[in-house]
């Protein structure tokens, strides 16, 4: 980040933190993607509620991201504020700046959290995430807190609203996508028809993370440090998140550990039930595990298509397209008998 931007950022922090001074002692880019950038920023703050050394992350659109998604950061900030207030362990959102005049693009600043999120490490290595019973329970509790956010939420009015049963809503979106795609997928159609025939009615609607799985939360040696990746959040049936978390396709090869490859399903459920005070309908979660495979299959087709269409030359995206047969196979396994 250039010197003049750093000075502008310091002036911004002085204002929003009501500080006497703010000096950025370190600024380095953590990850730069096609859509977003994350900067690790250390600030020495004098005066105000944040006096002292502040370690934070600045998230902004990448310079090439274009206008279409320029509201993304404000939405993400609003989501973090909402769930942070609901008691969910997330990086604390500090300040949003929608004024592009400050550093050239909208951004927000959140407190930094430590640890790793890499799914293949979490399921393998005992040194990440601490005790597995506690971690599974904790993840259940966190999810219940996310689901404690109920509509209406004026701060989240950017989230699409719909009146259908959430399952039917997803089925419609998937069919719409498949109808516009160049290649038909009869096995997915079989799964969608099963999902349609078994779709649960619209019940209580909650804020759902919609990508709550191993790989999208951070842990250190002793346990959870934060729930990440909120870009798919939306209103849905809370069981959608439970099914996504437990689905076989998100166990990173540890299929016998049904709670996200890291723990026992009942430990996860116990944490959820304890926090929400409501029992989980075990059989109903199974429906949403079928839906999880369907959602992931559709996303995998879309990821592969980003490569095939020439939008983004990426071996990772290309290989993601080849996950689809495995997901279709699992969908057939789960829907054969009824």
């Amino acid at each position: 980040m250039e010197q003049n931007l750093l000075r502008a950022l310091e002036r911004f922090i002085v204002t929003v933190a009501r500080a006497e001074s703010a000096a950025i002692t370190s600024a380095r880019i953590l990850s730069g993607g096609a859509v977003q950038e994350n900067w690790l920023i250390d600030v020495a703050i004098v005066g105000g509620a944040h006096a002292g050394r502040l370690e934070c992350v600045l998230r902004c659109d990448s310079p090439t991201a274009g206008v279409a998604i320029s509201h993304g950061r404000a939405h993400e900030f609003a989501l973090l504020k909402t769930v942070f207030a609901a008691g969910v362990t997330v990086p604390e959102p500090l300040w949003l700046c929608e004024d592009s005049a400050v550093i050239g693009r909208p951004f927000f600043v959140m407190r930094r959290i430590a640890g790793t999120a890499a799914g293949h490490l979490l399921v393998k290595d005992g040194c990440y995430g601490g005790d597995r019973v506690q971690l599974a329970e904790r993840l259940g509790r966190e999810l219940a807190r996310i689901h404690s956010v109920r509509p209406p939420q004026p701060a989240l009015d950017f989230l699409p609203w719909y009146e259908d049963a959430p399952a039917l809503h997803s089925i419609d979106l998937h069919r719409h996508f498949l109808d516009g795609h160049h290649t038909a997928h009869p096995a997915l159609e079989w799964g969608l028809r099963w999902l349609e025939r078994h779709a649960p009615a619209r019940g209580e609607i909650s804020l759902c993370h919609r990508d709550y799985r191993t790989g999208n939360y951070m842990v250190d040696e002793s346990g959870l440090t934060g729930v990440l990746d909120w870009e798919f959040a939306g209103w849905s049936d809370p069981l959608e998140d439970l099914g996504w978390f437990c689905a076989k396709c998100w166990r990173f090869g540890k299929v016998d550990r049904e709670a996200g490859g890291i723990g026992v399903r009942e430990d996860f459920y116990r944490g959820y039930e304890g926090e929400s005070g409501r029992p989980i309908d075990r059989e109903a979660v199974r429906y949403w595990e079928v839906m999880a495979h369907m959602n992931w299959a559709i996303i995998a087709i879309q990821q592969g298509e980003r490569h095939v269409s020439g939008e983004e030359d990426s071996l990772l995206l290309a290989l993601t397209g080849h996950i689809v047969p495995e997901l279709e196979w699992e969908i057939l396994n789960m829907t054969e008998s009824d």
């Binding site: 038909a184 997928h185 047969p325 054969e336």
Partner: protein, 124 residues
């Protein structure tokens, strides 16, 4: 007529070199890239191995299911998809068993090419 080694054989040989000689000396951050490369080469190799026969069989099977002679695999799968979406494979429908068996057979072949490990010990 092409000389051997075939494309499939070349890929297999190239993969051995990468796996046995290059992978062990690569620094950690690039190992993952090479593993992805090896996976991509394996998929290409298996597609070459099976050739065009599975797609022809698939077309023949769909034609039999739909009771019409179809020439284009893309169009055949679109029509099959429509049949399934309209409930042609629902419980109690006469074609349910045959439809499902077809999806299984095609699915198995797709897995044999994309990720045969997923078939080990799998149901069906």
């Amino acid at each position: 007529m092409r000389d051997r080694p075939t494309g499939e054989e070349l890929l297999a040989c190239a993969r051995r070199v990468l796996r046995e000689k290059v992978l062990p000396v690569l620094p950690g951050e690039h190992k993952h890239d090479l593993l992805m490369v090896l996976n991509a080469m394996s998929i290409a190799e298996r597609q070459l191995h099976y050739g065009e026969a599975p797609e022809q069989q698939e077309l023949t099977a769909i034609s039999a299911l739909l009771g019409e002679s179809l020439a284009d695999p893309g169009e055949a799968n679109r029509r099959l998809s429509r049949r399934v979406r309209e409930g042609g494979g629902d419980p109690g429908q006469p074609q349910r068993t045959a439809l499902f068996a077809h999806l299984r057979a095609v699915g198995r072949q797709r897995l044999l090419e994309s990720n045969p490990k997923a078939l080990n010990g799998a149901a069906g």
